[in-house]
Every structure is written in C-alpha cells, then in structure tokens.
C-alpha cells in the first residue's frame, strides 16, 4: 500500500521544507511560526505511522528503499532505506521533535520563526542520517546536522553559550573529519559509497584497526564516551530546553548508531581487536561519571553526566558481544547485549529528554538551575513533582519503566562476557539511584525553601501534555517492551551473525 510512496524522503524533506518556510515567514507572525512548527512536526509524526505499520518485522532487509543517482561521476547516490534499527530511531526523532517544539512555546521570546525552523530542519537532517544508505549522503546529513544545533545553542542559549558552542562544534567536527577519511579510504577499496556494499568488503586486519580508530574518533565524541565527553555538560547547560532535549534524546544516539551502522559491520575484526578499549571506556563512563554526577550542583549538568553514564551502557552492550560469542559459541547472549543497547538508546531518549523538560519547566519559572535554589517544590507543584518522580525513577532504572529494560539486559549479558564487567556495570544500580534521588530530594521534597518556590505555579496544560506523553512512553515500554524488540530483532540478529564472521582477507 505504501510501497510506491517515498515515505523516507517525506520524513526527511517535509520538516526541512517546513523549516525553510518558517524562515521565510519572518518574525512578525510569531504565532504562525509556532503553529507552523507544531503542525509540521506533527505531520512528520503522522508520516511515521505508515512507516511503522508498513514495516515488515520478519526480515533484516532494508525497507522503503529509495534510489536515485546523485553525483554519477563518483557513483554517489541518493540511496535511502531503513531496517529495524533506523526505524526506531526515526520514530524517536519524530516524537521528540514535537516535544522540543512545544518546550519552546513560551520560553523562547525572540526569533521564534528561526527557532522553529532550526528544529524542523534539524529533524529532517537527523532522519536523513538514520535513513541514508550511501556513506556520502550519510556524511552530508551528519555534518549538516551540526549547523542547526550550533545555532540553537548559540542564539537561544545561556550566558556562556559562545564557549559552549565552539567547544561543541570543534569536538564533533574534529571527530567527523576522520569519518570522512575513513569513508574515502573505503571508496578507493570498494569503488562504492554504498554502505551495504562495504559490509561485504574484505579488509586486512591492520586497515580494519585503523578504520576502527577513525570511526571511533567520530562516533565516540557524539556518544559521548569518556574522555571526550566534556563538551556535553557545557552544551547542555547553555542550550535552551528544546535544544537539550534533542541533544540528549537524538544527537547522542548518532554516535551509537554509527557504531551499529559502520564500525561493527564494516570492520568487525577491527572492532573485536579494540573491544577491550571500548568495554573499558564504557565501564569508566558508567562508574566514573556516576560519581561525578553525584556532586553536581547544577541540575542540567547532573542530568548531562547521567546521560553519559547511561550511554556507557549502550556502548558496553554493543562491544561485549565478541567476548560472549567467544565464551558461549553462540550469538544468543550477545543478542541480549546488543538489543539491550538499542533499547537503552530509545529509552534514554525518553528519559533524559523528559528530565531536561522537567528542568526546563522549573527554569522557565525561577530562571535558575542550581539545586540549592530549590527545595520543597512538591508543595507548590504537586503534579509536576509526580511526573518528575516517575522520570527520576526511570533514570534510576526502576523495573516497570523503560530505563530498566536495557540496563537489565546489558547486565545479564555482560555477565556472560566476564563476571567483573557485570559487577562493575551493576554499580549503576546504586550510583544511578544515589545521584538521581538525592537531587530529587533536594529539589522537590522538604519545606518550601524560598519565596520563589512559594510562588511557583503548577504545570499548565501544555506542559502536562508534553510530560504526560513521555510518561506514557516510559511506562508502556517498561511494562511491555516487546514491540520494540520485535522491530529490532531481525536486524540485530543479522548484524550479529555478520560480525561473528571474520572479514580479514
């Protein structure tokens, strides 16, 4: 039924064109710009419905494929297609963008149409990253994506936004250069920019190792992995709420997606050779960053650090697979680790997005993010407190919330790789609960701490809707994650079978 409709192009170009339209709409019609932002993001959401319904969950093959020659001289094509991995991330992007648009509804007071345009264009570009099957096309979307985010933080950000934006841009751009080098090298080997063609390309071990490092430099910054993570807390602190939401929910997933789409399938032997490094960095992220989060006094910084720790689980889940396959001789345990990683990506999108929205709600009212400026918020904002309790618990991976699913599966499977990986990873049970609940206690509970808190108004309809939508997702996929696993299952299992085989010539 949808076979002939270029749905992927639609989910990419609808928001981009909508964004361009918003730019031309100008600043006079503030309300129109907002409405345009909302309507276009909702339409994109609606376009995802046939994408999900039409998606065949029994195959790992790329679906909704679109192909058109682009630069024929170099055999670069406009080649789109999605598997279960990309589909989930596109759905997450479409969902989150609506929230980000709504988050800026009242808080953004100047250049509203540009603000909306930035988010819409960003959405299209991010969808492009997830749908590209041509590595140059991927790279174009990948780099283009930086620009709107750069502007979002740089224009609507906080007082130190210049330092934060430059840091953000340099970090990610520097990493990406190596990605381009790797893509070009592969082109000269394979004669093609087709990502799927690169999967079958035999590559020597040394070349694989070098390629892995090049990919790693690009993707590790985005995840971000320790020690290239320090741009993230700064970027989050300065970004407006919507920017933080997109940054945490989607942009951090780009790096992890890169590992799935490039590093693991194209250079499996290189990945295996460096899995000790990846596992170490992941465990450092989980524990080191957990401790760092404990002592933050800025709420956004705390959540930013918590994001890094949670993304550590994603990379851990991805890179323990080689050891599990070695230990058990099957991909069964590895499937849990990798699917857990992808689940963690999706869930972290909801939870960190929601927590940034919560901070945004408070920031809009009191214009401070310092934990010590709050206290007793529950007295004046009981509904808000209830929502934030749910998200805090989800952040602490309470069973019944989506945050539990991925971490649980990854802890289970890391035990199969090495008992001590599991022991170290499980420390998050204590650390995650400690920093999240300690913050919650200081901000929300207690007697009213200041006049500002005394005057707080509880969340309005718009905010209730935004937080409620995420709350539903967090609970639904916590209680019943099966639909997500059904979508990702064949793709992940195929990926695992692929990387279990050596590609060395």
């Amino acid at each position: 039924m949808f076979a002939t409709t270029p749905l992927l192009s639609l989910v990419i170009w609808t928001p981009i064109l909508g964004g361009v339209w918003a730019l031309f709409a100008g600043e006079e019609q503030k309300h129109t710009a907002k409405l345009l932002g909302l309507v276009v993001s909702l339409i994109t959401c609606a376009l995802c419905v046939p994408l999900y319904i039409g998606f065949n969950t029994s195959t790992h093959q790329m679906q909704f494929v679109e192909f058109a020659p682009w630069i024929t001289t170099f055999n670069i094509n406009y080649h789109l297609g999605i598997d279960g991995i990309s589909l989930l991330l596109i759905l997450l992007t479409a969902f989150t963008t609506v929230l980000a648009v709504l988050a800026g509804w009242e808080a953004i007071e100047y250049r509203i149409s540009q603000y909306m345009a930035a988010f819409l264009i960003l959405e299209g570009l991010m969808n492009g990253v997830f749908a590209s099957l041509d590595s140059i096309l991927f790279y174009v979307f990948w780099e283009a994506m930086l620009v709107p985010m750069f502007l979002i933080i740089g224009i609507w950000g906080g007082p130190h936004r210049v330092y934060a934006t430059i840091k953000f841009f340099l970090f990610t751009f520097l990493g990406s250069v190596f990605l381009l080098v790797a893509i070009l090298y592969l082109y000269f080997q394979a004669g093609s920019f087709e990502i799927l063609a690169l999967y079958d390309l035999p590559i020597g071990l040394t070349a694989q190792k070098l390629l892995f490092i090049a990919f790693l430099l690009a993707f590790a910054v985005k995840v971000p992995m320790w020690p290239v993570h320090t741009w993230l807390p700064d970027a989050h602190v300065e970004a407006p709420t919507g920017g933080s939401v997109i940054l945490a929910a989607i942009m951090l997933k780009m790096g992890a997606y890169g590992f799935l789409r490039f590093s693991l399938p194209i250079v499996p032997d290189g990945s295996e050779a460096f899995d000790w490094l990846m596992i170490s960095l992941s465990l450092i992220a989980i524990i080191y960053i957990g401790f760092v989060a404990l002592v933050q006094h800025d709420m956004k910084k705390l959540i930013a650090y918590s994001s890094i720790a949670h993304m550590g689980f994603v990379t851990l889940g991805f890179f323990i697979v080689f050891r599990i396959i070695d230990n058990t001789g099957s991909t069964e345990g590895a499937t849990r680790g990798m699917e857990g990683g992808l689940m963690q990506m999706i869930s972290h999108g909801f939870i960190s997005g929601a927590l940034f929205l919560c901070v945004g709600v408070m920031y809009d009212r009191l214009h401070t993010r310092e934990i010590s400026d709050y206290g007793g918020v529950v007295n004046t904002m009981p509904h808000f407190a209830a929502f934030m309790m749910l998200f805090a618990m989800a952040n602490a991976a309470l069973p019944g919330t989506s945050g539990f699913v991925g971490e649980f599966l990854i802890i289970l499977s890391s035990f199969e790789a090495n008992v001590w990986f599991a022991v170290l990873a499980a420390m998050t049970l204590v650390l995650g609960a400690a920093y999240t609940l300690w913050m919650y206690k200081r901000v929300i509970f207690g007697d009213i701490a200041s006049e500002g808190v005394a005057k707080l108004k509880d969340i309005n309809f718009r905010e209730t809707f935004v937080l409620g939508a995420v709350a539903v997702a967090v609970l639904l996929f916590g209680v019943w994650p099966a639909p997500l696993f059904e979508v990702m299952g064949p793709s992940i299992q195929h990926l695992l079978q692929h990387i279990a085989q050596s590609k060395v010539m």
């Binding site: 020690p227 019944g400 802890i411 008992v419 049970l429 609960a433 509970f445 099966a482 997500l484």
Partner: protein, 656 residues
Amino acid sequence: MADYMRYVYLGVVLAPLLASIIAGLFGRSIGRAGAHWVTIIGVGIAFILSSVAFNYIVFDGGEVFNGAVYTWLVSGDTRLVIGFLIDRLSVTMMVVVSFVSWVIHIYTIGYMHDDPGYQRFFSYTALFTFFMLILVMANNFLQLLFGWEGVGLVSYLLIGFWFKRESANQASVKAFLANRIGDFGFVLGIAAIMTYFHTLDYAQVFQQAPLMANTTIELLRGTAWPLMTVICVLLFIGAMGKSAQVPLHVWLPDSMEGPTPISALIHAATMVTAGIFMVARMSPLYELSATALSLVLVVGAIGAFFIGVLGVVQHDIKRVIAYSTISQLGYMAAALGASAFSAGIFHLVTHAFFKALLFLAAGSIIIAMHHEQDMRKMGGLGKYMPITWITMVIGGLALSGVPGTAGFFSKDAIIDAVGHSNLPGAGFAHVALLVGVFVTALYTFRLIFLVFHGPERFGAEVRKHVHESQAVVIVPLIVLAIPSLMLGAILVGPMLYEGHFGHALLVLPQYDVLAQMGEDYHGPWALVLHGLIGLPFIFALLGFGVAWYCYIKRPDIPKRAAERAQIIYNVLVHKYGFDEFYESFFAGGARGVGNLFWRVGDVALIDGLAVNGSARAVGWFSSIVRTIQSGFLYHYAFAMIIGLLLLLAIFVHGIL
C-alpha cells in the same frame, strides 16, 4: 484445572492495581471517602480471591498453576514473560499479604484521618499490595525483580510520605539506597542464573539445578567457585537489603519516619519478609549449597540477637518494635539457613499478624498521645486505653513466644530446628537465638511497662485528651489479636509436619531437621506442655522478670546500669556504629571520589589540560607565527635568503 482460576489469579493483582490508579489519579474527584472505599474494596477483592485460590490449591487439592500472562519481550531465543506460579507457598503468602493489607487499610481511615495526603496514602498502600502480590505470585526471576523493586519504590514513597520533614526524606533515600545495594547482588545473582541456566523461569531453573550442583565458576583467574554458592550468596545479598539483615539493616529503624500503618504493613508484616520468602522459594537452589545455607543461618542469628539488643535502649516506641522486627527477621533467616524453610515461612506468617498488631497498637497510642512517640513521656496508659493495652499485651506475649501463642509455635520450631542442624555455625546460631528470646521478652515488656504501667509521665494537658481510640482503629487490633493468639496452634501441624507446602519447598534428606523434629510431634498441646518446661520459655520468663524488676519495681536501675556500663551503653546507643561508618565511609567517600573525578579528572585534566590547553597551545603558536608575518619586505627577503642558503647547504653536502 478449573479454567476460571486463571481469572481469579489475574483478579488478585488487578483489583488493587486498579484501586490504586483510581485513588491516585482521581483522588480529588472521588474525595477522601471515595479513596478509602475504592482501595478497601480493591484490596478486599484481592483477599477474597486469594482465599478462593487458597481453598482451591490447599483444600481442594487443585492443580498448581504455572503459566505466562503475557510476553514481556523476546530477545533472540529468550522469551521473558510476566507469569504466575500459584502453588501452596504462593497462596499462603497471598492470603497473608492481602488480609493484613486489608485490615491495615481499614485502620488507616482512623490513623490518617486528618492528613492532607489521605488519597495519596491509600493509593500508595493499594499499589504496594499490587507489587507485593506480583512478587509472591511470580513464576520467574524477572517478575520477582519487578515486585521486589516495586515494593521498594512504594516503601520509599511512604517513608518519605511526610515530605516536609527532612528526617523523613533522609530516611526514604537511605532505605532506597540500602535496598539498591542489596539489589546489586540480587541482579548479579539473576545474571548468573541467566548465564548458566539460559532461562529465568523458576520451574526450569529448579529442574536443571541438581545438574549444576558441581559446576564451578572462575571468579578470579585460576580459582574455582561453586556456582550454586555464588548464585545463592548473591541472591541473599538482595534479601539482606529487603529483609534488613546485618549489615544492610540500617534503613529499617529509620523507616519508622513513615506513618504507622505502613510501618505495620510494609516494614513489619509483608515487604521486609520478601527476602525470607525469596530464599524459601529458591529452596531447590539453596539446598545445593551448604556454604550459602550456613551464611544465611549465621547472618540471621547475628541479627536475631545483636540487633534485638538495641531494642532495649531505644526510647521511641516505634523504633523498639522496628529493632524487634530486624531481630525476628533474623529468626526467620536462621530457620531458612537450617533448611527449615517451612518453619521460616510459618514464623513469617505468625509474625505478620502479631507484629502488625504491635505496630497498630503503638499507632493507637501515638494517636492518643498526639503524635508523641517517646516512651519516657508515657506511662500508666493502661487504664485510659484498655483495649489497646490488652491487644498489645497479646502481641507482646506472642512476640515473646509464651507457650500457646502463635509466636511460640513458630519461634520454638526455629530454635529447635537450628539446634538439630549440623551446618557450620549452627551451634553459635542456636545459642544466639536462645539468648535472643531473653532479649525479646526484655524489650517487649520494657515497652509495655513503660507505656501502660507505672506513673504517668505526661502533662495535664495531654491527660485531658487521652482516651481509647475510635472503632476503625480498635477493631483491626482485635481482628489481629485473635490470630496472634490462635493461629500457631492451628498451623503448626499442617505447616511444619503435615506437608502443607507440598512440593513448593524442597529440602534434601540430609538437611531435613523438621523431619527429625516431626518424629517427636504429638500435636500442638503436647508442644505447649513441653514448651512450658523448655529452655526458651525460661529465657522469656527471665526477660520478663528483668523488665518487671527494672521498670516497675526499681525504675532507677536502668539509669544506673547505663552509667555503670557506659561503654556498652554507648555502643548500643550508637547501634554499633553502623550508621556513622556508612555515613562517613560510603556517603562521604562517594562524594569525595565524585569531587576528585570531577574537579581533577574532568575540570583540571581533560578540560583544563587537554581541551583548553590545546586551544591555548594553538593560540600561543599562532601568536608566535603571527609576528613573522610582519609585512616588511626585507624580513621576507631575509627569510628567503636564509632558506636558500640552507637548501644549498643540504644539497651540496648531500644530506638528502
């Protein structure tokens, strides 16, 4: 199997869940009465349906139900489900949990009467009942963990129910974190099971377990650890958190910050016994590891005696009972360690009734005293509150194990079972449990004497208002007092010796202490007669005597004793220093490490040195290079000549 039973089981969990959602989300529109009605009905339905299930499984000999409700997720070939295992163990727990919960819901109407968070409270307690039922009805480890953490969540929410109090908020976070430390072990235990059994389903794990009895696991290179011991110890770490076993017990006394009804429901009768239930449920695993059994036995005995002693120096009425709870949980754990699983569960059941009774009676006193909990400001209340007094004495007798009461049958069985055990540590445990009886009677009657007898130590203002509590408070006391007296005699035969639990609990013949005891079993009345001349009762009488002498006859003695044995008294008042140690070492240490990583690692090294440092280096380098670009022609000409000379020199000498 009767087909409709499936719906009965579903109804057991769904009724309280639905009630909780209604009371929680629509609390404002249904009002206070609406909230308590809907939750009381919801939990009441759960109780009735649990009774139906109990009747079906136990009396009608119905089939054990072991099936999935829905698929949680499928990953590869692994299917993780939400499902129920309804056997003789779970129906017993279901009835106890739903009944105690139901009684406490009714009591709460009176206790929380004037509280602004009335609806919220009922929503939480119904939600708790849901999670607790999920926990006991689970047929797999995943769902066990669901219920396990779910009850922990509600416990956290209810300890911090009065969120304006800093002490309550501290206590709630402390409880959650102490439980999380336990869960750290618990989750790793589950991971070990998944790794070696490739399933989380109880039945499959239990079936494969004997084949794994000799499997070892390499924790450190070149060392072989018995797998079963590793799994059982890890799981028991979870139980240590949830069931407040030493050294993770520290959260339970602080949990008394919560309203009294939940102290009775969650922190005495049900949630804290989850660890005991879990170990009993895992009996097919624990039986394969003598080491783990020994550990459970010794840890339990340590708690039973040493933490019980702390109850003697507490002044807060609820804290006395809290320490008593830790001590009684120690008794239960000791029973499990001795492989007397059914004795552990039996004590769990009787304890649920008499300890809930003690807490609710304490609550009745606290209402009368206008939320004063310090026993030093009470005294002589017996004549004002006769029913509270009598019911509390009944609870106290049961707790002390006076022959004939419910507590007698279960506690004596435990002491006897541990006496029969041959595991390492059983000798120590037996002595600790016996002396523990003395301690139990001492703090129990100290409490009763301080509160109900002796001179009145409160002001005239309080005296004017002191009166017996209202019916919704009193009736639950009476309802709980009856089983506290009678239940032991009724259950002792079936539960311990006549196979009430059927195949739900597994005991290997070489550990079967209850079978040995069963040879001498001649009915409950013979037990009572035997108990009257038994060692535990003598210890209990001693405890009673000391309490009477010190708190009625010579009330000056406790103070003098405290002064004489200052060191011991200080150790007890500081609760052996656990709290101080945890606060400074773990909490302080974690913050210290956090600050170190952040300020030195992130800010100074990564950002300061590497990131901004390289930015500065680039800046410095370009500032140097910039000076060369002077714009003067002769500078450039000079540079060109020097360069040319250099190149010539290189070529001439053939360096390249």
